[in-house]
Amino acid sequence: MSVSARMMIVLTVVGAFSGLSLVYMDKYAEPYIALHKKEAIREAIGKVLPDVAGAEEVHRDEIVIYRALDSSGGLVGYAFLAEGPGYQGTIQLMVGVAPDLRRLTGMEVLESVETPGLGAKITESSFKEQFRGLEVVPAVGYVKAGRKPAPNEITAITGATISSTSVVRIVNEGLKEVRRVIDFRAAEPVPLKEGGTN
């Protein structure tokens, strides 16, 4: 057999085996990965809103908002995913906001690659707790460490102002979108087109 024929056969056989095993592996892993993703979102909703029994996924204008309900079916607030650039890579947040959209109920960092020891402190509870009960009208602001923050302001992390302000900016931009699709002045939340339950 000529060398080129052997080269083709070996590469074809190895490629076919490799492809087959990857298809098999992907079939095995896919449901687990989807489950982890769903769990991460559900867990984050539970952290950013109090007394959540369940959440409905609401799609509107390509925006996904989670309508969180307590065990008797009452609305406890909305949660939404917001992301934007941080100091290094993308920061993805889950933000919880009260039904009147006037204050936050919590914030969780789902993804971030900020500098360990500095910007990565945005994932620590001392930073995240500042968002609980934070007023968001007219918008979230920040002060540098040592100054007293207003009810709508958080204290930026020393040495990581860019990471801190990135979070503030991502929250504000996300809120703007949410305000656009939910009429918060109405006494009852406007019925939303529901895209599925979670």
């Binding site: 080269m7 070996v10 590469l11 190895v14 490629g15 095993s21 592996m25 095995y28 892993a29």
Partner: protein, 199 residues
């Protein structure tokens, strides 16, 4: 080829041919992921899995692969096992997979994996190839776990998440990239001293 006793094939990877401390190969994942002991250990285990599986397959098919396409064949096999490892970590250990980030898929370009295929598995019988791969893999695990433990200890006073030095004032630099270079430099220097003394 070599007629050393079989256990030497394993032991040489731990010390005299240690991929990190002696050969200085695979530096990229070494420096990047060793921010904690558990990250170093997981990276070492994932790499050892890929290395051993690849050596097994390569040593079995070594006589069938024409030398002109050997690199392409080895790379394809390595890439397959890397993807398997990546999907497995994502499915079963999402937290570790998240911490290691892009460095798991990047095992595919880890030079000592291809290196072991070139210098060893493609020329030696299956048993010896597996021992060689396990040895080099263990050397890598040892190096990464040591590096991760030292950086975690000095950077946060903990090892494997357990407090070792109470009320330690963290040296943040140890968790930053500079800490990786410093620790690796000191460790390689220490290994060189030990090597000289024992010769």
């Amino acid at each position: 080829m070599s007629r050393r006793p079989w256990y030497r094939e394993y032991l040489k990877g731990l010390w005299e041919e240690n991929p990190i401390f002696r050969m200085l190969l695979g530096m990229c994942p070494t420096l990047a992921v060793t921010t904690s002991a558990v990250n170093g250990l997981s990276m070492g285990l994932a790499t050892t899995f890929v290395l051993t599986s690849t050596s097994l397959v390569v040593s079995i098919i070594r006589k069938l692969v024409p030398s002109q396409v050997r690199i392409a064949t080895f790379t394809m096999i390595i890439a397959t096992f890397v993807t398997v490892a990546d999907l497995f970590l994502k499915a079963k250990f999402p937290a570790i997979s998240k911490a290691l980030g892009p460095y798991v898929p990047l095992i595919v370009v880890n030079c000592f994996i291809l290196g072991r295929q070139e210098v060893f598995a493609s020329k030696n019988p299956t048993g010896r190839s597996i021992l060689d791969a396990l040895g080099v893999g263990s050397g890598f695990i040892f190096a990464l776990t040591l590096l991760g433990s030292i950086r975690e200890l000095l950077g946060s006073g903990e090892v494997f998440g357990h407090e070792v030095i109470p009320s330690w004032h963290p040296w943040v630099v140890m968790i930053l990239p500079a800490g990786a270079f410093l620790t690796l430099g000191f460790l390689v220097a220490a290994m060189n001293i030990i090597e000289e003394r024992t010769r």
